[in-house]
């Protein structure tokens, strides 16, 4: 396969998980897109250095982690909460769980559709509209803690549901 095509094929395979990795460290939803694009460009420029004996995803996450640390070093306000040692622990955890638990789009969509209306509305506010929990609490007249708990419960339900769907072969 042509090296360029090979790179593109590898990149497309890990794109979703790379976004998840960056998003797990950079909690600002806009900045994580910036970082992702920067990392994608860095991967493309360094594609000759990729060691084919290693998983592409691990290589990509390594470069992403370095980019995030660089951004943090350049700007102390850059929103990364974790210390370098913790970032390394997260890198290791992603490497160990290599895409095994990555939610498949179809399965997740089906699980979202099965949510009760109230849970669905909550998850829409949080993820579709990007509203912060504090604002959700204010709008709905619930306490902030109740919103946190509800979001946690909905995510747990979705996680279990996706796991069941994938186990049943429902992602096809």
């Amino acid at each position: 396969m042509d090296p360029h095509d090979e790179f593109v094929a590898h990149f497309l395979q890990v794109e979703r998980d790379l976004r998840a990795f960056i998003g797990s460290l950079v909690r600002d939803w806009h900045l994580r897109d910036d970082v992702f694009q920067e990392v994608a460009l860095a991967l493309f420029r360094q594609r000759e250095q990729y060691d084919r004996t290693r998983p592409f995803g691990a290589w990509a996450r390594g470069i992403a982690a370095n980019k995030i640390l660089q951004r943090k070093a350049q700007d102390h306000r850059f929103p990364v909460a974790f210390a370098p040692e913790t970032i390394q622990a997260v890198v290791d955890a992603f490497d160990a769980e290599e895409e095994a638990d990555s939610p498949k789009a179809g399965a997740l969509r089906r699980c979202i559709d099965q949510l009760p209306p109230r849970s669905r509305a909550l998850i829409d506010q949080r993820y579709e509209q990007g509203i912060k929990p504090a604002a959700i609490a204010e709008r709905s007249g619930r306490t902030l803690d109740a919103v946190y708990q509800a979001l946690s419960r909905v995510r747990q339900v979705l996680e279990d549901c996706v796991g069941r769907q994938l186990a049943d072969g429902g992602s096809r």
Binding site: R27, D28, H30, A105, D113, I123, Y127
Partner: protein
């Protein structure tokens, strides 16, 4: 509360931007020391990212609407042949034509010979450049299995397994057995045009310059970057002993625009629609304000939004639907911007980077 419960609690709060600095330090310690917490963190982060990706498709709405408008403008620029020039009347036949007419058969024979010679000596690859590679399964063209699919030739899936193709732009098409399609040449701003003649194909379209089109006899579908399935199926007409062909579209994520004989239709992730006929389903009922319940019509020529006219629904001419919630736009046409959860650092909320442009090109 045991250690893993505490870990889960910290992870959830972290994802919702709700941890105090001391709790972040506690989570960091757990992530470094406890592999179980770290694995749970990875799982939760993947779900969090997937929810962001799958639900926040409105982010792409503005770009796709612009793409759609451009398509319409492009169509409008094409010359339209309204009538053929009137044929020459016999009494107006030029005299010179009569003199040259006896040489015409010879000229035709010479031209045909030249064309045959050119056809024989020009490599077939140049005549039909490949637009897609076969990643899995068996694709046949003219009865022969191929690894690279040429344009303008009918492809079929051999065997009982589906086949996956990858286009030059990275987009993928998974074709079911007994399906038939033609990959057409790119034209202008259309980077890929696929004609599904029979069967079913699932598309994962990458975002790139230009548009990706899928056509069936019933509709033309235009997308930027999304995942959807197109199925061409025969359907029995109720009360009649005949079948017609229908096209069923199911959108997994993103948004697609569909042109039919009627008004253009926009479908979002999770929606399904059949052309012609069948009312749109609404698998994702949402709690919304009454005003937000109104469907919105995109006039592709003017790019305006206006409420639909209150007319009885026609089964064969489905109305455009726009069921997703639209976040009010800023003045100047900025794309809807979401309040991303800025996370706390040293107990303070961090604002967006002021240097970042308000509207960026996405991916």
């Amino acid at each position: 509360m045991n250690l893993s419960d505490r870990g889960r609690w910290l992870i959830d709060r972290y994802l919702d931007d709700g941890l105090a600095p001391a709790e972040i330090a506690e989570l960091e310690q757990l992530l470094q020391d406890d592999p179980e917490t770290a694995a749970t963190f990875v799982c939760a982060a993947r779900l969090d990212a997937a929810l962001c990706e799958d639900l926040a498709t409105d982010r792409d709405a503005a770009a796709l609407e612009a793409l759609f408008r451009r398509e319409e403008e492009l169509s409008g620029k094409l010359p339209v042949i309204t009538s053929l020039p009137p044929p020459l009347r016999t009494d107006e036949t030029p005299i010179l034509w009569t003199a040259w007419s006896r040489w015409v058969p010879t000229a035709v024979i010479v031209a045909a010979a030249v064309l045959i010679a050119v056809a024989l000596f020009v490599p077939r690859g140049e005549e039909s450049p490949p637009t897609a590679k076969v990643l899995s399964g068996t694709i046949t063209v003219d009865g022969k299995a191929v690894q690279e699919v040429p344009v303008e030739r009918a492809l079929t899936v051999a065997g009982r397994e589906s086949a996956t193709l990858q286009f030059v732009d990275g987009s993928r098409m998974t074709v079911q057995p007994e399906s038939q399609a033609i990959l057409h040449r790119p034209e202008g701003e259309i980077r890929q045009r696929v004609e599904l003649q029979k069967g079913q194909a699932k598309f994962a379209v990458e975002k790139a310059a230009g548009s990706f089109r899928v056509e069936t006899a019933e509709m033309r579908l235009i997308v930027g970057g999304t995942e959807f399935t197109v199925r061409v199926v025969p359907a029995i007409v109720a009360g009649e002993r005949r079948t017609i062909q229908r096209t069923e579209i199911s959108v997994a994520s993103g948004r697609v625009y569909i042109q039919t004989d009627g008004e253009p239709v926009a479908l979002n992730g999770g929606q399904r629609r059949v052309f012609p006929g069948e009312e749109p389903d609404r698998p994702r009922p949402k709690v919304r304000d009454e005003e937000e319940h109104r469907n919105k019509v995109i006039d592709p020529r003017r790019g305006e939004r206006e409420p639909p006219k209150r007319e009885p629904p026609k089964r064969e001419e489905p109305r455009l639907e726009e069921p997703r919630r639209e976040v009010p736009r800023k003045e100047g046409g900025d794309a809807p911007r979401r309040e991303g959860p800025a996370r706390p650092v040293d107990g303070k909320r961090v604002l967006d980077n002021p240097a970042r442009p308000a509207q960026r090109e996405k991916r």
